[in-house]
């Protein structure tokens, strides 16, 4: 994380408005990132979305990363884009523990709904305030969250008992 926050006008304004809620910032060739306090993510996004001159009105992506050895272990990553100004900002929120939880953005963007369900399904990160937090890609009886680094990559949970014998009988 660099200290070049002043170079990027979006990061600069974010710092001015939410100084104590911004944990760190990073800017490399205009690709700006801010790691922020989980409790402030909804307020920050709300402000970024409506603030004149920023208007980051599209939630392009919402995903997560599992840094197994690191504490806090998870990071939820938000990619925002402004249709009006054509600039971008990446926000990161740390999450830790076996059942990590961060606030949901469904109140700001309805499109966050399925992104958050996907992150919950594959990483097991819960989103507080989500209206319908259940698995979206995997089947309901699946146990665990397969994109966690400690999930065995080839552990399978078949829904059908295995058939005995390989191919069909040659007669």
């Amino acid at each position: 994380m660099s200290e070049s926050a002043g170079a990027n006008p979006i990061l600069e304004r974010l710092q001015q408005r939410f100084g104590d809620r911004i944990r760190s910032t990073h800017d490399f060739r205009g690709d700006a990132t801010a790691t922020v306090d989980p409790a402030a993510i909804v307020a920050i996004c709300d402000w970024l979305r409506s603030e004149p001159g920023l208007e980051l009105d599209i939630l392009m992506d919402l995903t997560a990363v599992d840094y197994l050895q690191r504490r806090p272990r998870f990071e939820v990553v938000y990619h925002l884009y402004s249709l009006k100004h054509r600039h971008r900002l990446r926000l990161k929120v740390p999450a830790d523990g076996e059942a990590p939880e961060v606030p949901s953005l469904t109140g700001l963007w309805r499109g966050a709904n399925w992104y958050e369900r996907e992150v919950y399904d594959l990483f097991g990160i819960r989103f507080s305030g989500h209206p319908d937090l259940r698995r979206i890609l995997l089947y309901p009886e699946f146990v665990g969250h397969p994109l966690r680094k400690d999930y065995p990559y080839n552990k399978r949970q078949p829904r059908l008992p295995p058939r005995s014998g390989g191919g069909a009988q040659v007669t």
Binding site: L137, L138, Y139, P146, Y151, Y153, N154, K155, R156, Q157, P158, R159, L160, P162, R163, G165, G166, G167, A168, Q169, V170, T171
Partner: protein
């Protein structure tokens, strides 16, 4: 004399080896039914992934699978003879594949189209069935990622040869 007639004539010679009293009639009947079955392979395409593109090129006019009587896809399993499983099968969709197979009337055959259906391909992960023969019996494996249309034509001819060798159950 068409291709079909030649096929029937070839069968008649093979059938003549069984020279019993009623054997001659039943082997003739067997040959006739085998001829009819192998030249009218109505297929049910169970297409889930990128192999579907190669399947589309196969069923286009250029490769003319109607030469083998296999050009008529039925989108109801109850009317189909051959289940073409085209593309990666995940554990989530596996019960659907089994259902479709069970809905097909006898006699029926299953073709594993592409390496994902044969073995799981390079998807050695939590989501993918490691070969559809763990779910349904497979008559013909066509590997390749994707298989070329020529490989599939070769496969259809091998399936025809297999049908020809089978005892023709009249159900």
């Amino acid at each position: 004399m068409g291709i079909g007639d030649r096929g029937l004539a070839g069968q008649a010679e093979a059938g003549a080896v069984h020279a019993g009293e009623g054997g001659w009639v039943s082997s003739k009947l067997d040959a006739a039914v085998a001829w009819a079955r192998r030249w009218s392979l109505f297929q049910y395409p169970f297409v889930t992934a990128c192999c579907g593109m190669e399947y589309m090129s196969l069923v286009s006019a250029h490769y003319d699978v109607d030469r083998f009587g296999a050009a008529l896809p039925r989108f109801s399993p109850r009317q189909a003879d051959v289940l073409f499983v085209v593309g990666t099968i995940s554990h989530k969709i596996a019960p659907v594949l089994k259902n479709v197979y069970e809905q097909m009337c006898e006699p029926k055959w299953v073709v594993a189209f592409g390496v994902c259906t044969c073995t799981g391909g390079f998807y050695d992960n939590y989501a993918t069935v490691q070969g559809i023969d763990t779910i349904v019996p497979v008559d013909l494996y066509i590997p390749g990622c994707p298989p070329t249309p020529e490989m599939v034509l070769d496969g259809i001819m091998k399936l025809q040869a297999k049908i020809d060798r089978q005892k023709q159950e009249l159900v």
